[in-house]
C-alpha cells in the first residue's frame, strides 16, 4: 500500500468514526440513558427483509422479543408481528454536537418494536447508543489529554532544547522521573491524589488532567531533540545574528520544524490515552454511571455471568479495534512521510 493511500485511508476512517461519535444523538436510535427494563440483555436485533411466510418487504423490519420458554432469562424471537424500520424518525430530543436541539434520529423501529444493533445491557439500554455516546467521553478524553501532553511537551522540550544549560538539566531530570515510573502505576498514584467522589463532569476533567499530565515526558524528550538540532540550522543562526529575539526565533523558525513530531506524537498518544481512560474506568477509578464511556461499557464484563452468557457484551470492545487501527495507521503513515525520529 502506498504511503499516501494509507494516510488518506486512515484519515477518512478517523473522520468517519469521529463524525459518528460527535453526532451520536443523530446516529443513535435512543437516548443514552433510555432504559427498557423488560428487555435486559437482549441479543443484537436482526434486520429482516423476508418475513416468516416468505414474503419480501422493501422496507426492512425487525421482530419483537418474547421470553424464551426453554431458557429462563433469555429471549426468543417473536415472529408474529413485524416492526418496520424507518429512517429520519422523530425520537427523544438531543443536542446536535451539544449545541442545537433536535429530535430527528437516523433510524428507528416503529414502537413498541425496539432495535438494538449491539444488543442491550442489564438495564435494557441500547449498547449501540451507549457505544456512540461513550465515544464522546472516551475520545474526547483521549484527544484533550493528548493535546495537553503534547502542549506540555512542546513547552518543556522547547525550553530545554533552546536554552540548554541548567534549565535543560532540571527539566530533563524531571522527565526522567516520570519515565522511571511504570505509566499505569503513575496514573494510579496521581489518580489517588485526587478526590474520589465528585460530580461526573469533574471526574471527566480530572481524568483528562491526570492522563495528560502524566505523559508529558516522552513528547518533551522527542521535541527537545528536534529543537536541539533545529536551533543549529544555518538559517536560525543567521536570523539570530540579524538580532531576532528568542521568542521570534522559537515561534518563527524552531517550532515549525517540530510540527512533524507533534502530529506523529498526537496520533500515537490519542489511542494510548483512550486506552488509559478505558482502563481507569474499567477499574472503577474513572467516570461512573449513568455517564457512558467505553470503559464502563466493558466494566460489566467483570461479572462472570455477563462474560459467559452474553457474547454481544464483547462487541463494544471489538469496535475499539478499528478506532485504534485508524490511529496507528495514521501515525505510521505520518512517521514514514515526515521521516521523524522513530520511537
Amino acid at each position: 500500500m502506498k504511503n499516501r493511500h494509507k494516510l488518506w485511508g486512515a484519515l477518512i476512517l478517523l473522520a468517519g468514526l469521529h463524525g459518528l461519535v460527535l453526532f451520536a444523538g443523530f446516529f443513535a436510535p435512543y437516548g443514552s440513558a433510555a432504559q427498557e427494563r423488560e428487555l435486559p440483555f437482549a441479543p443484537p436485533t436482526r434486520i429482516h427483509f423476508v418475513d416468516a411466510r416468505g414474503k419480501f418487504h422493501a422496507r426492512p423490519f425487525v421482530y419483537g422479543l418474547k421470553d424464551d420458554p426453554q431458557a429462563i432469562g433469555s429471549f426468543a424471537v417473536d415472529a408474529t408481528r413485524i416492526y418496520p424500520v424507518h429512517f429520519f424518525v422523530q425520537g427523544s430530543s438531543y443536542k446536535i454536537a451539544g449545541v442545537f436541539p433536535s429530535h430527528v434520529h437516523l433510524f428507528g423501529a416503529t414502537a413498541p418494536g425496539r432495535i438494538f444493533l449491539l444488543g442491550s445491557d442489564e438495564y435494557g439500554r441500547d449498547q449501540f447508543t451507549r457505544f456512540l455516546y461513550g465515544g464522546q467521553v472516551s475520545l474526547a478524553a483521549g484527544l484533550i489529554a493528548a493535546a495537553l501532553s503534547v502542549l506540555l511537551g512542546v513547552i518543556v522540550g522547547a525550553l530545554a532544547g533552546f536554552y540548554g544549560g541548567w534549565i535543560d538539566e532540571v527539566l530533563m531530570r524531571g522527565g526522567e522521573l516520570f519515565l522511571a515510573l511504570p505509566w499505569l502505576y503513575l496514573l494510579f498514584a496521581v489518580r489517588a491524589a485526587l478526590p474520589l467522589h465528585v460530580a461526573q463532569w469533574q471526574v471527566f476533567l480530572l481524568l483528562i488532567a491526570v492522563i495528560g499530565l502524566v505523559g508529558w515526558a516522552r513528547p518533551a524528550r522527542l521535541i527537545r531533540g528536534v529543537v536541539l538540532s533545529a536551533k543549529e540550522r544555518n538559517f536560525v543562526v543567521a536570523a539570530r545574528a540579524f538580532g531576532a529575539s528568542d521568542a521570534y526565533l522559537l515561534r518563527r523558525h524552531v517550532l515549525p520544524q517540530t510540527y512533524g513530531v507533534i502530529l506523529t506524537q498526537m496520533a500515537l498518544l490519542v489511542p494510548q490515552y483512550v486506552l488509559a481512560e478505558v482502563t481507569l474506568t474499567f477499574l472503577g477509578l474513572g467516570v461512573g454511571e449513568p455517564m457512558p464511556s467505553w470503559g464502563s461499557l466493558l466494566a460489566s464484563l467483570q461479572q462472570y455471568y455477563v462474560l459467559s452468557s452474553y457474547w454481544w457484551m464483547f462487541l463494544p470492545a471489538a469496535l475499539l479495534i478499528p478506532v485504534f487501527l485508524a490511529y496507528y495507521m495514521a501515525a505510521d503513515a505520518l512517521q514514514e512521510r515526515l521521516k521523524t525520529v522513530p520511537l
Partner: protein, 320 residues
C-alpha cells in the same frame, strides 16, 4: 567499573526523588482514611482526632516524610490503615506473586519473539515476513483488556483453567506433584495473556535490529567468505543486533508491570494490582505510595540489569 558505579548511583538518586515526589503527591490528596469515620455518628470527633494524631497525620510534611523514610528503611514501608498492620509484610507476598507472573510472561514473550523476529528478518520482504508484520500490527490494535477478557471467557466457558487466584483451595494438603500442577494451571492464562500483549512490540524490535545487523558490511563480507546461513544468523548477526535488544529488555519491564495490573485485577491474581486499586478506593495512602515505589524499584532495577548486561556483552562500553 566507573560506568557501573555511576549507573547505580544514578538509580539510587532517581529512587530517592521518586519517593519524595510520590509521597508529596499522595500526602496532598484531599480526604483520608478517617474521613469516612467522621460520617459515622457512633464515632466521636475526639476519637477521629485521636487516631489522626496517633498516626502522625497532624505533623508537618518534612516530619512525616522523615518518619516514613525511616520506616521504609526498617522494611515496614508505612502503616496500612485498612489492614491495621505495617505495609511491608502485606507487600512482600504480593510483590513476589507479581514478579513471578511478570518474569514468566517476559520469558515466554521473549522465547516466542526471538525466533520469529530472526526468521522474519532473514526472510525480509518475502511473504512470511509480510504475514508476520501484518499479524503483529493486527495484534497491536487489540486492546489489552479485550485480550484478557477473552482469555477469561475461555476459562469460564471451557473450565480447563481456573478463573482466578494462584492456588486452589486445600493447596496445603496436595502432594508435591499436584502442587506444581496446580500452580502451573493457575499461571497459564495470566502469563499467556501478558505474553500476547507484549509480544508484537518485541517481534518488531527484534526484526528491525536484525535487519540492520544483516545489512551491515561485515555480514556481507562474512557471506562472501562462504559462511553458512545459520551460523551467519546466530553467530554473527545476532550478537551484533543484541545491544538495542538488551536495552529493550530493561524498558519492557515497565510495559509488563503496567499490563500486569490489568491482568491481575481481571483474573484476580493475588499481586500488587488489586492491592493498589483497593488501596486507592479506600484512601489507604501508604499502601499506594509503597506500591508505586516498589513498581519503580522494579523498573529501575530492570534498567540497571540491562546496563549491567550491556556492560558485560559490549566491549565498547567497557572501554569508555
Amino acid at each position: 567499573m566507573r560506568y557501573l558505579t555511576r549507573r547505580v548511583l544514578n538509580a539510587m538518586l532517581l529512587l530517592a526523588a521518586i519517593s519524595a515526589f510520590s509521597f508529596a503527591l499522595l500526602q496532598s490528596a484531599p480526604g483520608n482514611f478517617f474521613d469516612a469515620m467522621r460520617l459515622n455518628p457512633r464515632v466521636s470527633a475526639q476519637t477521629v482526632d485521636g487516631l489522626r494524631s496517633k498516626y502522625g497525620m497532624n505533623q508537618p510534611f518534612p516530619v512525616r516524610y522523615g518518619h516514613w523514610a525511616f520506616s521504609v528503611l526498617k522494611g515496614d514501608m508505612g502503616f496500612s490503615f485498612s489492614y491495621n498492620s505495617p505495609v511491608g509484610p502485606l507487600l512482600w507476598a504480593r510483590a513476589r506473586n507479581t514478579l513471578l507472573l511478570t518474569s514468566i510472561a517476559t520469558l515466554l514473550a521473549w522465547l516466542l519473539a526471538i525466533p520469529l523476529g530472526i526468521w522474519s528478518a532473514a526472510n525480509k520482504g518475502r511473504w512470511g515476513d509480510r504475514a508476520c508484520g501484518f499479524s503483529t500490527s493486527a495484534l497491536l490494535t487489540i486492546p489489552d483488556l479485550l485480550v484478557f477478557l477473552i482469555l477469561l471467557l475461555l476459562a469460564v466457558r471451557t473450565g480447563w483453567f481456573p478463573t482466578g487466584g494462584m492456588i486452589s483451595t486445600g493447596f496445603d494438603n496436595f502432594s508435591f506433584w499436584s502442587k506444581c500442577k496446580d500452580v502451573a494451571v493457575h499461571f497459564a492464562l495470566p502469563a499467556v495473556g501478558l505474553a500476547v500483549v507484549t509480544w508484537p512490540v518485541l517481534v518488531r524490535h527484534i526484526r528491525s535490529a536484525m535487519v540492520e545487523a544483516l545489512e551491515s558490511p561485515f555480514i556481507r563480507a562474512a557471506r562472501g567468505h562462504g559462511i553458512p546461513r545459520t551460523r551467519l544468523l546466530f553467530r554473527y548477526a545476532l550478537p551484533a543486533a543484541s545491544n538495542p535488544l538488551i536495552s529493550l529488555l530493561g524498558f519492557s519491564v515497565a510495559t509488563m508491570l503496567s499490563a500486569s495490573v490489568i491482568v491481575e485485577v481481571i483474573m484476580s491474581w493475588p499481586g500488587l494490582g488489586p492491592l493498589m486499586v483497593q488501596a486507592i478506593l479506600s484512601r489507604d495512602v501508604y499502601v499506594v505510595v509503597a506500591v508505586v515505589m516498589l513498581s519503580s524499584v522494579f523498573l529501575v532495577a530492570g534498567n540497571l540489569l540491562a546496563d549491567v548486561l550491556l556492560f558485560v556483552s559490549d566491549p565498547r562500553i567497557r572501554v569508555e
